[in-house]
Every structure is written in C-alpha cells, then in structure tokens.
Amino acid sequence: MKVDVRLFAVARDLAGSDFISLELPAGSTVAQLRARLSAEIPALAGVLPHILIAVGSDYVRDDAIIPAGSEVACIPPVSGG
C-alpha cells in the first residue's frame, strides 16, 4: 500500500519536504514505518525516536497496524500554547 507521511516543523526541515510517499506491505506496523522513514530520510534518523506517529489524527503506538488509506503524520515534540 502507498502511505503519504506528513512532516512538520523540524522533521519537515530535515527532510526538505512536507511529506514523503512510502510503499509499504499491507498490514505494516508503525515500527515498520519508522524503519522505512529512517532508511529513506537518513537526516531524520537522529530525531525519529522523539517523534510520535499519528494515524488518522490520533497518536498511535509502535505496534499499531496502519490501515490502508489512512493519513499518517510525524509529530515532533509539540510547543504550541
């Protein structure tokens, strides 16, 4: 399945883009997504452990399975307010 991952703030700056399209096996977990992100964007590898993954606008754990067609995003530590 194709997954578009949205990137924000420092993650976007490090990647040089506000999203990345990945081709993942159906039934992939968030952990597998993280590994692919790290491989595709080496500049992200250092900060990725601090980044939360959101699927469908909710934070998810690394063992969550990514449903096909869902919106995925990298959420660096937030600093709003």
Partner: protein, 150 residues
C-alpha cells in the same frame, strides 16, 4: 468553540462566548510571546500546526473539560503564523458556576494543550538565528538565509 486562526485573538469575543447566566466565574488564560527566554532575546515567533489533527485534539480537550467540570462555557483559540513580542498566541476561556472549577479547567486545558496538540513554534532570535522549539529535542539553530534543514 475551538478555533485555529492567523488573526489576532479577540478576547472580548471569547468572553462573550463563554458568558452565561449560570456562570459565576470566568477564567481567561492568554499565552503571550515573551521577549527573553533563558536570557536570550526573541525578535518574533512563527507558529505552525497540523491543521486537521490540531482542530480534532482541541475539540477533544473541550469535550473532556466540559464533561469533567460541567462547564457553562468553553472557548479555545490558537493563533498560528507570525507573531510579534507581546501578542497572544493562545487563549483559553471557561465559565463555571463556581470559581474553583474554572481555575482547574482553565489550567488543565492549557497544560494538556501544550502536551498533545500538534502545534509548533519557531523562535526567531533577535541575533538572526531561527530555531524550532521541540521540548526534549536538541534542535540546531538555522540562519534564515540558509533556509530549512542541514
């Protein structure tokens, strides 16, 4: 009522929105941009957000506070884009029959907003460097001329 906007925050509108004949107390919190952070001078700030998720999380916060403190009114506005020193980046207004609940709900809302709502600020230091603020993450500053990334 929750809102993400690039416009200056209008506190009069917020206070009117949370007003109620059942309310005995209104608490308004404003987060304003400080000139100095740990001794270093800020020139301005830029806020960005993940719009769909930020809106959803703000609505969830409002609903949770409504349920927990039986609010008679609640409004949250976060401003994004470019802000100058002294401007309000966020406003939380709640009303309740009695004041203790208004203080508790107001503080919980801003504390939780700052922990979970996907909004980020970039400090534009007065010395010309700019830097995303990511608590717990050591982010290298970037000079505006070099653009994003390293």
């Amino acid at each position: 009522m929750v809102e993400i906007t690039t416009a200056p925050i209008d506190t009069e509108v917020l206070l009117r929105q949370v007003g109620s004949p059942q309310a005995g107390a209104v608490v308004l919190f404003l987060g304003t941009t400080r000139e100095f952070t740990r001794g270093r001078q800020t020139g301005s700030l830029d806020y960005e957000c993940y719009p769909e998720m930020a809106q959803k999380k703000l609505e969830e916060l409002e609903q949770q506070a409504q349920a927990r403190w039986l609010l008679t009114g609640c409004a949250i506005v976060h401003r994004i884009g470019h802000l100058e020193i002294g401007e309000a980046s966020v406003a939380v207004a709640v009303s309740t029959p009695h004041r203790q609940a208004a203080f508790e709900a107001g503080q919980w809302l801003i504390d939780t907003l700052k922990q979970i709502v996907p909004i980020w600020k970039k400090e534009n230091w007065a010395d010309g460097e700019s830097q995303w603020v990511h608590p717990g993450l050591d982010v290298s500053p970037t000079l505006p001329a070099t653009g994003s990334g390293n």
